[in-house]
C-alpha cells in the first residue's frame, strides 16, 4: 500500500514558494524544510492503557539562509504573513550574526552550490495504519499482555507498546523541490518479573519500514521475553575482567553505533573532536570487519530518500575489510571539510539544528556459523540485548550497557546468566579483536539516538554475531 503525501504540505506549497522568493531577494542561498509527521502510540500495561499522539509528531518549517559568512536558521509553525517571517530573520538572526561578524568571532562557510533536482518519493507498506481500526489494534495488544501472564506466575507487569509514524517532508531551495512520505513502526514488549524483593525485566524490540503488519511479529516475541525476565531472576553479577565474547546482532549494532559510528560523524571532524581523522586510510579493525551506514544502505526505520538538508541518501562504506575509509556527513560539515555530503544531515525535528547523524549502521555479515563461534570459546559469554551506550569520539572509550550474558564453558552454553553488564575498553582494540563474524545480518531500530544528551533521532543498527575480546564489568 502506497503512503500518500501530506495534504497539509501540499496546500502549504504556494506559501513556501512565496517565502522562498521573498527571502531569495535578500539572501544568496535559501532553503526551507517543511515537516508533517503524525503518529499514534498505543500502550497497554497490566494496569493501564494509553492511546495518543506520540513524541515523533511534528508540523512546521525551518528556513536556512546564507547570511554572507555562514548560515542562520529560523524554525516556526504558523503560516503567517511572509513579510513578518522575513522581518524576523532580518531583525533577529541577521542582527545577531552581524554582531559576531563585527567582533571577528564567526566561522566562515562557502555558499551552498546545488545541482537542480526535483523528485517525489512515496514508500509502500503492507498494511497502512489507517486501514486497521483502533479497536483491532488495542485488542491485539491486550491479547499479547494476557498471554504473557499465562506463561509465568512471576510476572508483575507486562508492557506492550506499539507506535506507527507517518513521515512527510518537503524540501525546497532555489534549485530543489523534493518531497517524500513513508511509514515506519516500532513495538516493544517488556516483561517485569519479581521474586521476593528482586525485580528483573527483559524486553524485545520490533521495527521497520512497516505498518500494522508489525503486530504479528510482536505476537511471536511474547513467550521469549517473559521467559527471559523469569530467567534473569536467577542471574548473577559478572566478575570484572577481560573475556572472549560473542555479541548478538543487536549488541554488535550497539558497538557499531555507539563505540564507532558517533566518532565518524563528520561534524566531529570539523570540531576536531574525532580521533577517527588520525586513522583515515589506516587499519582500524580486523580484516573481517566491514561497516556501513546509510539511509540507502538498508531498509529500516532510518531509510529515506533525502535528508533534512535536501541531500539524497547514500550507502557509505565506513570500514572496508578493516580499513577506515570515510565518515558520514551533513551538508555544511562536508563543505567545510571539502568532502561530499553523504545524506546524513538529520534534525530531531524542524525545531532543531541539522547535524551529521547516523541512519542505518551495521557490520556486514561474514562466513562463520554461530555454533562454530560458540564452540571456539573456552570460557566467555554470549552477550544479548543492548540497553544503551555513550559515545566518546575524541578518546574512543566504550560504554555499552548490555542486559545479560550467557556463560560459555568449554565451547558450550551453560545455564549460568550474568546481568547487567557494562562493556568498556578502547574502540580500535575491540574492533581489531574481532576474530569471527557470522553469516546472519539483523538490524533493529527501536528507541532513539541522541547526540550527547539531546537531539534524538530515529536510527537503526545491527550486524551479524561477532566474536571479540572485551572488558566486562
Amino acid at each position: 500500500m502506497r503512503v500518500k503525501f501530506s495534504s497539509f504540505l501540499t496546500e502549504a506549497k504556494p506559501f513556501l514558494e512565496n517565502l522562498l522568493k521573498k527571502l531569495s531577494q535578500e539572501y544568496e542561498y535559501v532553503s526551507i524544510l517543511g515537516s508533517d509527521t503524525f503518529s499514534k502510540r498505543y500502550i497497554v500495561t497490566t494496569k493501564d492503557t494509553n492511546i495518543g499522539d506520540s513524541s515523533w509528531n511534528e508540523r512546521g518549517f525551518v528556513v536556512r539562509v546564507y547570511n554572507g559568512i555562514n548560515y542562520s536558521e529560523f524554525s516556526f509553525n504558523e503560516i503567517a504573513d511572509v513579510e513578518e517571517i522575513v522581518d524576523k530573520i532580518r531583525n533577529d538572526l541577521i542582527v545577531t550574526s552581524d554582531r559576531f561578524k563585527r567582533s571577528g568571532r564567526i566561522s566562515k562557510y562557502p555558499l551552498i552550490e546545488e545541482a537542480e533536482l526535483e523528485g517525489s518519493f512515496e514508500e509502500n507498506v503492507e498494511i497502512l495504519p489507517s486501514k486497521i481500526s483502533t479497536d483491532e489494534k488495542v485488542r491485539k495488544l491486550s491479547a499479547m499482555k494476557d498471554r504473557a501472564y499465562k506463561i509465568s506466575s512471576k510476572l508483575v507487569n507486562f508492557w506492550v507498546i506499539y507506535e506507527e509514524v507517518n513521515v512527510n517532508k518537503y524540501f525546497l531551495s532555489t534549485k530543489r523541490r523534493l518531497s517524500q512520505s513513508y511509514v515506519w513502526s516500532q513495538g516493544y514488549l517488556q516483561a517485569f518479573a519479581r521474586d521476593a524483593e528482586k525485580t528483573k525485566y527483559s524486553y524485545e524490540g520490533f521495527s521497520g519500514l512497516k505498518g500494522v503488519e508489525l503486530l504479528d511479529e510482536m505476537e511471536n516475541g511474547v513467550e521469549k521475553v517473559v521467559k527471559e525476565a523469569e530467567t534473569l531472576l536467577g542471574s548473577e553479577k559478572i566478575e570484572p575482567g577481560e573475556y572472549d565474547v560473542i555479541c548478538s546482532p543487536d549488541v554488535a549494532g550497539l558497538i557499531a553505533h555507539e563505540a564507532f559510528g558517533h566518532g565518524v560523524e563528520m561534524d566531529m571532524f570539523v570540531k576536531e573532536r574525532a580521533k577517527a581523522t588520525e586513522y583515515m586510510g589506516k587499519e582500524i579493525a580486523s580484516p573481517l570487519v566491514t561497516m556501513h551506514d546509510g539511509a540507502a544502505a538498508a531498509r529500516q526505520v532510518s531509510s529515506y530518500f533525502f535528508d533534512d538538508e535536501g541531500t539524497l541518501a547514500t550507502d557509505t562504506v565506513i570500514i572496508d575489510h578493516g580499513i577506515l575509509k570515510t565518515g558520514i556527513s551533513d551538508l555544511l560539515s562536508a563543505m567545510k571539510l571539502g568532502t561530499r555530503p553523504t545524506g546524513n544531515g538529520k534534525r530531531e525535528s524542524f525545531e532543531r539544528k541539522a547535524y551529521s547523524r547516523m541512519t542505518n549502521t551495521f557490520f556486514a555479515s561474514g562466513q562463520d556459523k554461530l555454533e562454530d563461534m560458540i564452540s571456539s570459546i573456552k570460557y566467555g559469554y554470549l552477550l544479548e540485548k543492548m540497553s544503551s551506550g555513550m559515545e566518546d569520539p575524541k578518546n574512543w572509550g566504550i560504554q555499552c550497557m548490555i542486559l545479560y550474558g550467557r556463560e560459555i564453558k568449554e565451547g558450550k552454553l551453560t545455564d549460568r546468566i550474568v546481568s547487567p553488564i557494562i562493556m568498556t575498553g578502547y574502540v580500535p582494540a575491540l574492533l581489531k579483536s574481532i576474530s569471527m563474524v557470522s553469516e546472519d545480518l539483523q538490524l533493529s531500530g527501536t528507541g532513539a539516538c541522541g547526540k550527547g544528551h539531546k537531539e534524538f533521532v530515529k536510527v537503526s543498527s545491527g550486524g551479524p554475531y561477532i566474536k571479540a575480546k572485551v572488558r566486562l564489568g
Partner: protein, 434 residues
C-alpha cells in the same frame, strides 16, 4: 483565538465527559560555537496545544474512564481539528482505565520567583551568557572546544472542563560544552552541561572554569588500576542519578504499576541500615532550577513535600490519576528533588584509601532493579599515600547491596533537577580496571 476554537469543538461532542488543554508557546534563541567562533545561530517560535479528552463508559457493570491526547497545531483548520477530536474520541472508547477525576481550581501556595531572563530580549541575554562562558576560557593547557547555547521561554496555559485555567512562564538555559586538554601529544575531552532558569552572576564562569580544570586532570589520568574492596566516593552529577532510585521507589505510579513495592512507613534502605538515613523532598521551587514549575500539566499547584524522612517512607508522590488510584493526596507531577546532607565533610570522607569518581560516560541507576554503574571518565585513586587521577574502566553494583551503610557528605550540590550531597561513600561496589 485557536484555544477558543478548540474548546468550542470539544463542547459540541456530547460523548466527551471532560477535557484538558495544555497550551505551550515556545520562543528560543540558539548559538553554536566552534572554539570561540559563531558557527551558526538559530531562532525558534512555535505554538502547540496538547488536547486530552475523556470519555466515561460502562462495560459488564464496570466503570471506565477512557482518554486520548492529540497535538493540535496552529496551522490546523476547523475541519482538521474536528477530525482530530473525533479520532481521539473514538480511540478513548477502547481505553479501559479505572475512573479518576480532573484537577479542580485551587490556589497556589507560596511564591514562584520570576526569572531575570524575563527582563529584556532573549537575544541580548544569550549574547551576555556567551560572553561569560568564553571569559572563562583562559587556561594554558585546556580550552573550550565547542559549545551550544539554548535559551528558551515557555509560556504554558492549562485549562480544563472543571474550571482550571492557569498560566505561567518558564525560562530554560541549556549549555552543552566540550572542554579539551592536551598532554604528551594526546588530547582528551570532557562533556559538560549547564542548566538553569535564572541568571546568577558568575555561575557559568565558575562551572566552565571547573570543567577546564578537571579536563586537565583527565589529561594527566592513568588507566583505572585493578583494585578491589575500595570504598567508592561518588561525586558530581552521578550522586543525583544514584539517589533518583528512591524517588521512583516512592512514586505512586510505580507502586500502582507494581514496579515498586515500597509502602508508607517502610524502612526504605533495607532492614538494618547503619549509615546515613535518607531524607528526601520533592520541591517545585528550587531557585534557578529549570525543572522548577508552579503547576504540573494537570494544572495542579505544586509545593515542597517530604516523601522520605530518616530512611522511612512518609508518603507517595505523583500525579492526580495515580494518587487517586492509591487513595492518597496528589502532590502533582514534578521531577525536582532534594536530599539532605550528612554529618561528615567531603574532606573527612577522603581519609584513607578510596576511589573518588567525578565524571562518567553516562552513569545510570535502574529505578526498577537498583542496578547502577557506568564507564569512568575521571576519578582519583588514593592508595593511602598518594592520589592520582584515573580514567577508563567501570563501576557496577546494586543499590540493595550498598544502601545500608552509605555515608553522605554534609556539603550540598545543586545540579539539573536535584539538590543532593556533594559526595556519597559506597562500599561493596565492583570496580573494573581500564
Amino acid at each position: 483565538m485557536m484555544i477558543d476554537k478548540i474548546i468550542k469543538i470539544l463542547k459540541t461532542r456530547k460523548e466527551i465527559d471532560d477535557w484538558k488543554i495544555v497550551q505551550n508557546d515556545d520562543d528560543a534563541q540558539e548559538l553554536f560555537f566552534i572554539r570561540k567562533a559563531l558557527d551558526m545561530n538559530r531562532a525558534k517560535s512555535t505554538q502547540k496545544f496538547f488536547v486530552t479528552l475523556y470519555h466515561d463508559f460502562e462495560e459488564n457493570d464496570q466503570k471506565y474512564r477512557g482518554s486520548s491526547t492529540s497535538i493540535i497545531y496552529p496551522t490546523m483548520k476547523s475541519d482538521e481539528i474536528e477530525e482530530t477530536v473525533n479520532d481521539a474520541l473514538f480511540s478513548s472508547k477502547f481505553v479501559k482505565n479505572s475512573p479518576y477525576p480532573l484537577a479542580k481550581p485551587s490556589k497556589m501556595e507560596g511564591h514562584f520567583t520570576s526569572s531575570k531572563y524575563s527582563s529584556g530580549d532573549l537575544s541580548e541575554w544569550i549574547h551576555k551568557i556567551s560572553e561569560e562562558l568564553y571569559s572563562a576560557d583562559r587556561f594554558m593547557n585546556s580550552w573550550i572546544n565547542s559549545s551550544e547555547l539554548f535559551l528558551k521561554r515557555n509560556k504554558f496555559r492549562v485549562i480544563n472542563s472543571k474550571g482550571v485555567d492557569v498560566s505561567w512562564e518558564l525560562y530554560k538555559l541549556y549549555i552543552e560544552f566540550i572542554t579539551t586538554s592536551k598532554r604528551k601529544g594526546e588530547e582528551v575531552e570532557l562533556y559538560s552541561i549547564i542548566e538553569n532558569s535564572d541568571f546568577e552572576n558568575g555561575e557559568i564562569y565558575e562551572k566552565v572554569s571547573q570543567a577546564l580544570e578537571i579536563t586537565e586532570e583527565r589529561a594527566n589520568a592513568i588507566s583505572m588500576p585493578a583494585v578491589k574492596g575500595l570504598p567508592v566516593l561518588l561525586s558530581g552529577e552521578a550522586v543525583g542519578e544514584f539517589l533518583k532510585y528512591y524517588l521512583y521507589k516512592s512514586s505512586a505510579r510505580y507502586f500502582y504499576e507494581h514496579l515498586s513495592t515500597a509502602k508508607t512507613g517502610d524502612t526504605i534502605q533495607g532492614d538494618d541500615p547503619s549509615g546515613d538515613m535518607i531524607t528526601m523532598y520533592i520541591d517545585p521551587s528550587v531557585n534557578g532550577s529549570s525543572y522548577s514549575t508552579p503547576y504540573d500539566e494537570d494544572g495542579l499547584p505544586l509545593r515542597k513535600v517530604k516523601i522520605i524522612e530518616n530512611g522511612i517512607m512518609k508518603r507517595y508522590w505523583g500525579e492526580l490519576k495515580y494518587a487517586y488510584y492509591l487513595k492518597v493526596k496528589p502532590t502533582g507531577q514534578l521531577t525536582n528533588f532534594t536530599v539532605n546532607g550528612g554529618k561528615i565533610s567531603e574532606a573527612s570522607l577522603q581519609e584513607g584509601r578510596y576511589l573518588k569518581l567525578l565524571s562518567f560516560s553516562d552513569f545510570q541507576s535502574d529505578p526498577m532493579t537498583g542496578d547502577f554503574g557506568g564507564e569512568v571518565r575521571l576519578g582519583w585513586y588514593n592508595d593511602g599515600e598518594s592520589t592520582v587521577p584515573v580514567s577508563g574502566g567501570s563501576i557496577s553494583g546494586n543499590i540493595s547491596e550498598v544502601q545500608s551503610n552509605m555515608i553522605f557528605s554534609k556539603e550540598i550540590q545543586k545540579d539539573k533537577n536535584f539538590v543532593v550531597p556533594k559526595m556519597i561513600k559506597l562500599s561493596n561496589v565492583k570496580i573494573s580496571a581500564g
